[in-house]
């Protein structure tokens, strides 16, 4: 029988190795999965992971899909480090899309350079507000933020549906539930001809760097880490649990909100009843895959983005169901959590009983 012996210090080697190990295990499991589904495993793997990025459009798509993941995951990672589980990033993303997108839709003036920045700010405000609600409920009433932020996700989604089926429906849209497309001044133009990759990706990268600086160098980041690692020590030091709760929830909400604006003003180009295939939830996986480190998150986001695109590609070329992508993502998170134990513990054989 094996047992787990705590290490004196967490193993840095393992910290870097475990995401790689988890990815390899997931790929192995994927081969098995495809075999069960009755398709040639290697063809499916190729269609899933390699084919999508064989051209520049595909590579750019990686960035398109990674942008909202990076934005949400960086915010999530900062919150999780403080032991604040903001599961409602999806709802905050939607609210960001509503606020920012709404501003862009109804800008009556005719445009200008500052419409887009204003939209981004509005989106950040929308997301931050939606994150402020769980913060308020937690600090004032001690209500668990996992449940409150999650419930608010459903509320946000329903609000979006109401707007799209009602006042925001495009009068010229043949009664389809969609808003009118954004004018050019309210749209994010692609950076490269023939792709959908917009400036949002650059923003995401800047956010990742900023997040890294925050966590590693700033005093706020130190407070966040202490609260997450040892809450009584934070109390001893005089760090305010309340302030950190508000700060992390509003920050991660704001970032999710920016992701929301970016989606509607960029790749989608209008507001639809569903503006995200669950980026806010998938960001949780990205955050863990990136070891809650902003720079690791960038790499993780690209990998997960690949799984999204791969899912679409495999569906088109091999008629595989789209749900395979989320099975992959779930498995990846499982393997990641499973291998994490190696960072903090060593595996040892159990001692035998001494007989006299």
């Amino acid at each position: 029988m094996l047992r787990l012996e705590p290490r004196a210090q967490p193993s840095t080697r393992m910290m870097l190795a475990t995401p790689v190990l988890a990815v390899l295990l997931t790929l192995l499991a994927g081969l098995v999965l495809f075999a069960i589904l009755g398709v040639n495993p290697f063809d499916a793997m190729y269609a899933f992971f390699i084919q999508p990025v064989e051209n520049w459009y595909g590579v750019a798509e990686l960035g398109v899909k990674a942008t909202p993941l990076i934005l949400c995951a960086v915010g999530l990672a900062i919150a999780i480090r403080a032991n604040i589980w903001n599961i409602g990033a999806e709802g905050q993303l939607v609210m960001g899309g509503i606020f920012g997108g709404g501003l862009g839709l109804f800008w009556s003036d005719g445009g200008g350079l500052w419409v887009l920045p204003a939209m981004f700010i509005a989106g950040a405000i929308g997301g931050a507000l939606w994150g402020a609600i769980p913060a308020f409920l937690k600090t004032r009433f001690n209500a668990n933020e996992i449940l409150t932020s999650l419930m608010l996700t459903y509320v946000a989604q329903l609000l979006l549906e109401k707007l799209i089926h009602g006042p925001w429906r495009d009068p010229k849209g043949f009664n389809f539930p969609q808003s009118k497309p954004f004018e050019s001044y309210a749209s994010i133009a692609p950076m490269f001809e023939g792709t959908r990759l917009g400036f949002g990706f650059v923003i995401a990268l800047i956010v990742a760097v900023g997040g890294w600086l925050l966590l590693s160098r700033s005093f706020l980041g130190f407070q966040i880490k202490v609260i997450g690692l040892a809450a009584p020590a934070a109390g001893y030091a005089g760090f305010s649990q309340r302030r950190i709760t508000w700060a992390t929830l509003m920050l991660s909400g704001a970032l999710a909100g920016v992701a929301g604006v970016n989606e509607v003003a960029g790749p989608i180009g209008q507001i639809l009843p569903s503006i995200s295939p669950g980026y806010g939830f998938t960001a949780i996986i990205v955050a863990f895959l990136g070891r809650l480190h902003p720079l690791g998150i960038v790499i993780a986001a690209l990998l997960i983005a690949l799984s999204y695109i791969g899912g679409d590609a495999a569906q088109m070329s091999m008629n595989l169901p789209v749900a395979v992508a989320s099975v992959f993502q779930g498995m990846l998170l499982f393997f990641l959590l499973a291998t994490e134990v190696l960072i903090r513990y060593r595996i040892r054989g159990r001692r035998r009983i001494v007989h006299g």
């Binding site: 705590p6 009433f141 959590l337």
Partner: protein, 311 residues
């Protein structure tokens, strides 16, 4: 005539409340036992969905709802065992694993379910006792339900009995209360928690199968629509006391169904806003319960969510 209509409407509300509450009652009872042993399993939504599709699929293939429900329970337990291995043997963070279980369960159920979308299925039969079921109001409520509803109430009583009146229940509670002490006394903390998690998985599976076999006898992706999370709120609402779980499940079930009745009544509020009510109601109830921090702390299993390593 009007009186008759009111009775009819009232009966419909009560009966549909029972339908809406039963899945959550199963899931909440399962999670209660799990949390009493000290484990926080956030994967209820995923386990319910897996139970829903497996129950639907097996019933469709075998023609027997009994096999379907049993398979759903097994599937829920199987999926929860992954969570158990990760958190109890590999000492992973329980919150993250629960979320992973939800994501995985959602995807897996969608994968299994793609060939069952839109397929019809007969609703599992409901009781009909000639004289009793026809009594206005209470007749259909008490004597006109299906087997799973009666079973859910029986399970509520059984869980209460188990936790408060049996030695095994006492041991389980002690593990959640102080796992170091329980270990020092020679109890297998990991073993007991493992069983508690499996029970929770099985119950969530059955709860999910109720959705696809009775509530709306069909399968659609993500059909739980957050009920798993509401079941979690139920457990907190009940302050970990079995009797109150029953009350909570029915309360929350009422919230989920009330908005449909309001829409049917022609209440002049947009359907999307009405659909929000169960979620907002959940937040409100949660806030009301959590405000009394002392109450929560007194009844919450002291070791809830903490990692245990015997070493």
């Amino acid at each position: 005539m009007i009186f008759h209509d009111v009775i009819h409407e009232l009966t419909a509300i009560l009966v549909t409340t029972v339908f809406a509450s039963t899945p959550m009652l199963y899931a909440a009872l399962g999670e209660l036992v799990t949390e009493k042993s000290g484990v926080l399993n956030l994967g209820i939504e995923g386990m319910m969905l897996v139970g829903a599709i497996v129950g639907f699929a097996v019933t469709t293939l075998t023609g027997s709802a009994i096999f379907g429900v049993a398979a759903a329970a097994l599937a829920g337990a199987a999926v929860s065992s992954v969570f158990a291995v990760l958190t109890l043997l590999l000492l992973a963070n329980q919150v993250a694993c629960g979320l992973a279980l939800t994501i995985f369960g959602t995807g897996l159920s969608a994968l299994i379910g793609r060939s069952y979308i839109g397929k019809p299925l007969a609703r599992i039969p409901q009781l009909h006792i000639p004289q009793l079921t026809d009594i206005p109001l209470i007749g259909p409520l008490i004597f006109g339900q299906d087997a799973l509803v009666y079973l859910s109430v029986a399970m509520a009583v059984a869980v209460y009995w188990f936790l408060n009146r049996t030695r095994s229940g006492l041991i389980l509670r002690s593990v959640g209360e102080n796992h170091d002490a329980a270990h020092a006394l020679g109890y297998s903390v990991v073993g007991i928690r493992f069983l508690a998690v499996l029970f929770g998985g099985a119950m969530s599976g059955i709860g999910g199968s109720y959705l696809s076999l009775a509530y709306t006898p069909l399968w659609s992706e993500g059909m739980t629509a957050g009920r798993g999370w509401i079941a979690l709120a139920c457990v907190t609402f009940s302050t970990w006391r079995a009797g109150r779980v029953l009350l909570g499940a029915y309360l929350f079930g009422f919230f989920t169904i009330a908005q449909l009745h309001a829409q049917a009544f022609g209440v002049p509020i947009a359907p999307e806003f009405l659909s929000m009510t169960p979620y907002i109601a959940t937040i409100v109830v949660l806030v009301l319960i959590s405000r009394k921090a002392s109450l929560v702390r007194m009844h919450a299993p002291a070791c809830l969510g903490q990692v245990f390593n015997a070493g």
